[in-house]
Symmetry: C2
Subunit: 255 residues, 2 copies
């Protein structure tokens, strides 16, 4: 028994284009090729195709499928690995759904879709750059979920706390005191405590997950200097440098 490309496509429940693709990438060659170039497939090719489609439906990629069929990899191993990925995806989706639900509620409740206020108190803790990536990919997501899970009054309180911290820093910097001074170190302590209240950050995890709160804090300090947004929040670049040095000293001594 032998079938043309359209015929097995129908039999197996796929398309001729897919068959040609599998031929191109070497995943499934036709069992015979006519003098005219036509592809013909036998029973054994059909069985292989069924296996391919089964694995594909389970979500495996074509390269992985090729490995499994070539016995370069055990099916159970590949499937187990894939299962982990699927479960991660499910988690991600669940969190995303929760986020969307909260956002819908907020928007329907009249809140403006992320108004300017957020820029003042929140986003500079939300700094998704190389430092954050170094300290965990989902830190941003967690922090974001936390922020949007808060009520308006909570947000206001948080914002004011952040602004008070910022203005205190500015005052200290302009007073010309040293980063080693008790006043500056007291501010640094407040700053770190404040950071600890943001879920998803190494500061909040308190070093439990292996990332260093010390490096995190000093890294943040570097960012404050490197980025003009922080400069604005802490009284210009000079202020940011003061904050950075104060934090660094504090981290060295206390973290």
């Amino acid at each position: 028994m032998e079938w043309s490309i359209q015929e097995i496509a129908k039999i197996a429940g796929t398309t001729s284009r897919t068959l040609r693709h599998y031929d191109d990438i070497g995943l499934l060659k036709p069992s015979r090729t006519g003098h005219n170039g036509y592809r013909y497939y036998s029973q054994s090719a059909l069985v292989q195709l069924q296996r391919i489609l089964l694995l594909r439906q389970l979500g495996l990629g074509l390269p992985v499928i090729a490995q499994v069929l070539d016995r370069e990899q055990e099916a159970a191993v590949a499937l187990n690995g894939h299962l982990g990925w699927l479960e991660q995806e499910q988690n991600r989706l669940a969190r995303q759904i929760a986020s969307v639900r909260r956002t819908i509620k907020a928007v329907e409740g009249g809140e403006n879709l992320m108004a300017e206020e957020i820029l003042d108190g929140f986003d500079h803790t939300h700094y998704k750059d190389e430092v954050e990536e170094r300290w965990g990919k989902d830190a941003y997501a967690k922090g974001d979920a936390w922020w949007r899970g808060m009520g308006p009054d909570e947000k206001l309180a948080w914002k004011q706390r952040a602004q008070k911290l910022g203005s205190d820093w500015i005052a200290a910097a302009e007073a010309g005191i040293s980063p080693d001074s008790a006043t500056a170190q007291e501010l640094a302590k407040r700053h770190v405590e404040w950071l600890k209240d943001i879920p998803g950050t190494p500061a909040a995890a308190n070093g439990e997950n292996g990332v260093g709160i010390k490096e995190y804090v000093t890294g943040l300090g570097d960012m404050y200097v490197a980025d003009p947004r922080f400069g604005a929040n802490y009284g210009g670049t000079a202020g940011a440098i003061f904050v950075r040095d104060s934090l660094r000293t504090y981290a060295e001594l206390n973290l």
Copy 2:
């Protein structure tokens, strides 16, 4: 306040490439362009960017985001629509995970990854072609989950039932009787009952979800004729035609 492309990228937690992309597709233009072609972004552009990134993190596509930002669409509406899609995805993932788990069990239990036996009794009920697509996209998935959820003995029983049905059809066709005859109609009835035992099909749903079991059965009859695999199962094309006509008559009278 005004920032270069790298600067807002850092501030907002994204990359300069992304910003250039958004410029290219018109999603976010820089607020000013230098004589040298450099892109510069203002505070308002930053706010827009934050909104974009928020919506993107919620999983919305860039075109949808553009609509929301242009106020061509309410945010709540877009988010609600998106929520539906997310929930569908979650369902799909859950089923896929279940399927993978069962398959792992089966494979570890020593079962061969979809051996030839399946081709005999099962796969022709599994016909994922234009008819199946007409009757629901997840019919295939449901049927597949059902099949792989069965134990070896159940599979054997099913296979034998299918083969008995096939051989009875062949015998009737070769006897030269009419599709209207009582014998043929009795076989058609058995055939339909058999179809009803396959979850995910219109026959199993019994017309509850709005798709017609009648059209489904006659459509299957047409497939039996159109495809050589069925011919093999029902005693050649002549046999398949007999089956088709018998089913059609039965469907007209009883469904």
